[in-house]
């Protein structure tokens, strides 16, 4: 966007919280990286000011036999596909009641457990809520049928969806998903964050070229500018690495997911401590705020 007049007009529209016209979306999508970054940074600061949040997550496999959750976790996340409703409930009960919000599961897996029956799905969510679940960990937008209705059922059951994720999208379909998500409507606070960087990252075949740095920060920036219906734009510390996660904060992201609750060598060079996260956030000129799995600030 070398055209200063168009940039100024877009900036005014965004600042006034006005909807963007199709031509403006196209202009944004073709804007140069730094112009896009400036607009996205302004948009994230209007919502979140100087704050950048992060969460320390302890992942617990749904079929884990012994469960020991680290004391520093601010979210316990039950991962994996449950074999049955009972297995899902048991896994949640095993980690609930420790004063740490419990999230878990992918929404499409829970829908699968309910065999697609709406009433059964609603009942399952209530069972899990009673067992101690506060939120479904993720709704994978490219794996979930009728996400808006599904989120409404989750909200009805008194739960939230922690984040929307994209499993696998390349090229133009990345932006298409952002626009699709932006077009959905959800009950207030039913969806807490949108993680717009596709989680499948494979360059194993020529057709599946890995995303570049430009691709990723553009995706983050466009998400912040177009997705008005979700408060947080999220990146993942362990998945994307500290450097990209930090740079993404300056391109519109405001929340860092996936900070390990224990330091571990398994992450190799991405091994980290909460101090590293705070240092990275400060070095990006933001104020670090730790949150829990319920998206509440942690002051302890």
């Amino acid at each position: 966007m070398s055209d200063d007049a168009s940039l100024a007009e877009l900036r005014e529209t965004l600042a006034a919280d006005g909807g963007l016209e199709e031509a403006q979306v196209r202009l944004l999508a073709s804007a140069d990286l730094l112009s896009l970054g400036v607009l996205a940074d302004e948009a994230r600061r209007r919502r979140h000011g100087q704050q950048a949040t992060f969460v320390r997550v302890a992942e617990v496999a749904v079929d884990a036999s012994a469960v020991e959750t680290p004391g520093r976790a601010r979210e316990i996340r039950v991962t994996g596909v449950p074999a049955s409703v009972d297995a899902a409930e048991t896994a949640v009960r095993a980690v609930a009641g420790q004063g740490v919000p419990v999230t878990g599961f992918a929404l499409h897996d829970l829908m699968g457990l309910a065999n697609g029956h709406a009433a059964e799905f609603a009942r399952l969510l209530r069972v899990l809520g009673d067992a101690g679940l506060v939120a479904v960990s993720e709704l994978t937008v490219d794996r979930t049928v009728d996400p808006e209705s599904a989120v409404a059922v989750v909200a009805d059951a008194g739960l939230a969806v922690s984040r929307l994720t994209i499993q696998d999208a390349r090229g133009d379909s990345r932006l298409e998903w952002v626009r699709t998500v932006a077009g959905w409507s959800f009950p207030p606070k039913a969806v807490r964050a949108f993680a717009p960087l596709p989680r499948a990252e494979s360059g194993a075949t020529p057709e599946s070229e890995p995303a570049t740095g430009y691709d990723d920060v553009r995706q983050v920036a466009l998400s912040r500018l177009l997705v008005d219906n979700i408060d947080s734009i999220q990146v993942d510390w362990a998945l994307h690495g500290p450097k990209l996660a930090q740079v993404a904060l300056t391109f519109g992201a405001d929340d860092i997911d996936g900070v390990p609750a224990v330091d571990t060598d398994e992450l190799g060079p991405r091994r980290t401590s909460v101090e590293d996260v705070r240092r990275n956030i400060r070095a990006a000129s933001f104020t670090p705020v730790e949150r829990d799995g319920g998206f509440e600030s942690v002051t302890r």
Binding site: D32, L34, V38, T212, P242, K243, Q246
Partner: protein, 406 residues
């Protein structure tokens, strides 16, 4: 793009008007300007200097001929002391094989650097360079950073200009800008690298090299003990010498890689890298080329460097040992570098060390096998001692024992 700081806004105008930044102005921009503004200014300066939209890269191989070093810089994870079981010196034949491999993928240069090995006299380097040039007359030797030149000058007890002259006579084509770290003696003292070269000595080697007709690069390794004003002091010293000689072809900065080093600590962040790169583009108004360091920052932040002042993606380096020893192991082959350049909206072109364009990417012309990992100097456990070493006088008892006739 205006900011809430009148001082920063005034400096942005100064940069846009082509003004030269003073030390204090550079410090204000570095510490106070928003990251996007720094990037925008650096991008504008880059575009004015390189209006064709070409982003270059070189196909070469980064070979470390020995890891034995007496300097013992506390930020270095690569060196081994004399006598260490995993210390090595590469043989001439091993180096020839590496050159063959490099030529096979379209490379035309070795970046040859190593430790300060007291058992390798100046004659070893001269013979090596001559042997390479005899076998591969067109192949370029971008070799021996200033501290290595100083080490050889001390070892051979001849002046630096004489070392340069002898190495040039043997085939040296250009000098890499390694070992600069931060060109401030307080910093160098703390990094235990003052004795390998003071800031003045480092710059003096480059001055002599430029006067002798060699072109060189210049680097900065930041993120250890230096303050922001000391990073700027480094840039100012580079700018001053460049005003004097014009001999630097490119500036390359990277962050200290702490893993496995005596110094340890945390690595500077990605945003700091982009800000430092952008500032270098603004201060170094007399250096044409700035490289993006994907080797230390990873491909993604490395590519983003192209929006923060870089116009070069560095090297398809084929082999790398120093940064890997400190825990970073990123790899980009030519296809990947070209893809990243195009994805960022630029035109990829191969270059040589003088930044002369050599042509389109090799991968556009023919199939080149994919490279998914950078090679290492030597296979782990290979403790062989090159035959030709017996021809050279060793100085240490270990070296003498190794070379004694059996």
């Amino acid at each position: 793009m205006s900011t809430s700081s009148p001082a920063v806004d005034a400096l942005a105008r100064k940069v846009r008007d082509g003004g030269r930044l003073s030390r204090s102005e550079a410090l204000t921009l570095y510490t106070e300007a928003p990251t996007h503004l720094l990037g925008r200014l650096a991008d504008e300066v880059r575009a004015a200097r390189h209006p064709s939209g070409v982003v270059t890269y070189i196909i070469d191989r980064n070979v470390n001929y020995t890891n034995i070093c007496v300097a013992q810089c506390n930020f270095c994870a690569f060196y081994r002391p004399v006598g260490a079981a995993d210390g090595y010196v590469l043989g001439f034949d091993e180096l020839f094989r590496k050159i063959d491999d490099t030529i096979a993928v379209g490379g035309e240069q070795l970046l040859l650097q190593g430790g300060h090995n007291p058992d390798l006299p100046l004659e070893w380097y001269e013979d090596l360079f001559r042997a390479i040039k005899a076998r591969y007359p067109a192949f370029r030797l971008h070799a021996l950073s200033p501290p290595e030149v100083i080490h050889l000058s001390r070892l051979a007890q001849v002046e630096v200009p004489v070392v340069i002259e002898r190495l040039m006579a043997a085939g040296l084509d250009s000098i890499p800008g390694g070992g600069a770290e931060v060109l401030v003696d307080r910093v160098r003292r703390e990094l235990n690298c003052l004795s390998k070269a003071t800031a003045d000595e480092w710059l003096d080697v480059m001055r002599h090299a430029h006067r002798a007709g060699l072109r060189t690069t210049v680097t900065m390794m930041y993120g250890t003990v230096e303050r922001p004003d000391e990073r700027i002091e480094h840039l100012m010293r580079v700018r001053e010498l460049q005003d004097e000689t014009g001999g630097f072809t490119a500036f390359i900065s990277w962050s200290f890689q702490p893993s496995h080093t005596e110094r340890g600590g945390a690595e500077a962040t990605g945003v700091e890298y982009l800000r430092t790169l952008a500032l270098a583009r603004l201060v170094l108004d007399n250096v044409d080329n700035l490289q993006a360091s994907w080797v230390t920052q990873g491909g993604k932040v490395g590519q983003l460097g192209l929006s923060f002042g870089a116009n070069d993606m560095g090297s398809v380096m084929i082999e790398e040992n120093v940064v890997r020893a400190a825990g970073a192991a990123f790899c980009m082959d030519e296809l990947e570098i070209v893809r990243n350049i195009e994805n960022a909206g630029f035109i990829p072109r191969r270059r040589n060390m003088h930044y002369e364009l050599l042509g389109d990417p090799i991968v556009w012309e023919r199939d080149v096998p994919r490279m998914t990992a950078l090679a290492e100097a030597r296979a782990v456990g290979d403790a062989s001692v090159p035959e030709e070493l017996v021809r050279y006088r060793a100085r240490t008892p270990t070296g003498k024992r190794q070379r004694a006739p059996r």
